[in-house]
């Protein structure tokens, strides 16, 4: 049975701008307004704005909120200062990934979780299931919050100019709550592009007003098409491609976001620790090609004649003028510099294992 497709509060704006709209994660979302390359370069070179209102927001509060979130989250939030943002994952006991997410420390025992749109129902069910043993309240606020991401090297100046938001005091992965017309909004120095930038969470009405101001000032609207090329070049994973119920953060080489030594551990820790100690069977690598053919999700990766894995994401890079891919391959063939190949339709092309960060991010630390 087909589910009804959802829309964000900015849907009419996208349509009016002539965006190419496509269903994504249950929402009718803009893929591009003009073209992916123009939008991608706007973010790399100046500033662009994304509607990311499809993302989910869940507030966890109560006497055991910190203890609980630290148990379901791979990173360590214990004792953190209010105003910090953490990236990490929620895992199944076998180490497979439920989702990757951001955790905002809003207050002592008040956490704000930002989760992937496609996973909202699954995540909320998972969180509630785990929460039964803790004294916490779980509140899915996904329908209340809309969200925009203002990204690029001049994002800070644009936020001030167009929205009157001075975010110069925020360092990378911090946030502040601000009062705007009697409403509390959340502004964080975070993003998914490999550039400096901000994410703003507010009510639908406020986000619509902000969007209009950014458009009036000529800021490039950016679709999900370039969101994917930007995050990919910067080495950032996408749930569904590089992280899945079958792909653990250890396999995705994201162990740095798993704190194995934290008090109380986390769900999935034993499985991940074992994979880390013994070496997981599969490993996510970067691949670069000399040829111009383009690797795409699902294409086979070969070592000689043997299939050793598959491409999880691939593009002709935009900031990086090469055909590049992430691929999940057998660990033994995943060493840097190793020569593999990718089957692209009828032909097989050589590819070299490289670091996943094809583009060096420009974060303001």
């Amino acid at each position: 049975m087909a589910e009804e497709i959802k829309t964000t509060c900015l849907h009419d704006k996208h349509v009016a701008l002539g965006a190419l709209m496509t269903p994504f994660a249950g929402f009718d979302m803009p893929i591009q307004y003009k073209d992916i390359v123009t939008e991608h370069n706007a973010v790399r070179n100046a500033v662009g704005v994304f509607d990311v209102s499809h993302m989910g927001e869940v507030e966890v509060s109560g006497p055991e909120a910190e203890k609980f979130v630290n148990r379901i989250f791979t990173n360590d939030i214990a004792g953190a200062e209010v105003g910090k943002v953490f990236y990490g994952m929620m895992l199944y006991p076998d180490g497979g990934t439920v989702d990757d997410l951001l955790v905002y420390k809003m207050g002592e025992n008040d956490l704000f979780l930002v989760i992937n749109a496609a996973n909202i129902d699954k995540d909320v069910a998972w969180i509630n299931e785990q929460a039964a043993a803790f004294d916490v309240k779980v509140d899915n606020q996904s329908d209340y919050y809309a969200q925009i991401a203002v990204q690029g090297p001049v994002a800070e100046a644009q936020m001030l100019k167009s929205l009157g938001i001075d975010a110069s005091d925020l360092t990378f992965y911090t946030f502040k709550k601000m009062q705007l017309d009697g409403e509390t909004i959340i502004v964080s120095r975070t993003g998914y592009t490999g550039e400096d930038g901000f994410e703003v969470y507010a009510s639908h009405d406020t986000i619509i007003k902000m969007w209009d101001k950014l458009m009036a000032d000529g800021v490039q609207p950016c679709g999900l098409g370039c969101r994917d090329t930007l995050r990919f070049e910067a080495g950032l994973p996408l749930y569904g491609d590089e992280l899945t119920a079958e792909i653990s953060p250890v396999m995705a080489t994201l162990s740095m976001f798993c704190k194995f030594d934290k008090e109380g551990g986390f769900i999935g820790m034993e499985a991940c620790a074992k994979q880390k100690a013994e070496g997981s069977a599969k490993k996510l690598v970067g691949l670069v090609m000399k040829d111009k053919a383009i690797p795409r999700h699902g294409y086979e990766v070969l070592d000689g004649d043997k299939v050793v894995g598959y491409v999880t994401t691939g593009y002709r890079g935009i900031s990086v003028d090469k055909s590049i891919a992430f691929a999940l391959v057998d660990r033994e063939v995943g060493a840097l510099g190793n020569e593999l190949s990718i089957r692209i339709r009828k032909k097989v092309f050589p590819a070299t294992v490289v670091k996943k960060r094809f583009y060096q991010p420009n974060y303001k630390k």
């Binding site: 992916i36 390359v37 111009k292 053919a293 383009i294 795409r296 002709r316 935009i318 692209i344 339709r345």
Partner: protein, 126 residues
């Protein structure tokens, strides 16, 4: 509104054939290049390869997706447009000028199965 040229033959999968004597120049239509966006790679067959009407002979790729090329006619590839190897974006500049392969037609009767400019125009709703 995309460009459509009189005198060419058009397929439902948005390829065109420009016939010159016993040869056909095959490419994608202006409408197709517009739908695809920035073309970043064209996967072409090699000279002397056989192509068959209705079957895939390569692909044209934009940043976001790969789209198979279906041959509107059967024949033997006598030339590929090598300029597209270095500059695939030529297809966006002029899709009709920048054909992809030149084929020696093996059965000109196949052209009767294709659309003329008016029929193609009607199909894409312009």
């Amino acid at each position: 509104m995309s460009k459509i040229i009189e005198g060419l033959y058009y397929s439902e999968s948005h390829e065109y054939v420009r016939v010159e004597g016993e040869f056909g120049y095959i490419g994608i239509t202006d409408h197709a290049q517009h739908e695809l966006g920035n073309v970043v790679y064209v996967d072409m067959p090699e000279v002397d390869d056989e192509v068959t009407a209705g079957e895939e002979f390569g692909a044209v790729e934009s940043t976001k997706a790969a789209s198979d090329l279906m041959s509107p006619v059967s024949g033997t590839v006598v030339e590929v447009n090598e300029a597209l190897e270095d500059e695939p974006g030529l297809i966006n500049k002029d899709a009709f000028e920048n054909w992809i392969i030149k084929v020696q037609l093996s059965d000109t009767a196949e052209l009767d199965d294709l659309m003329d400019a008016a029929a193609y125009k009607a199909m894409i709703g312009e």
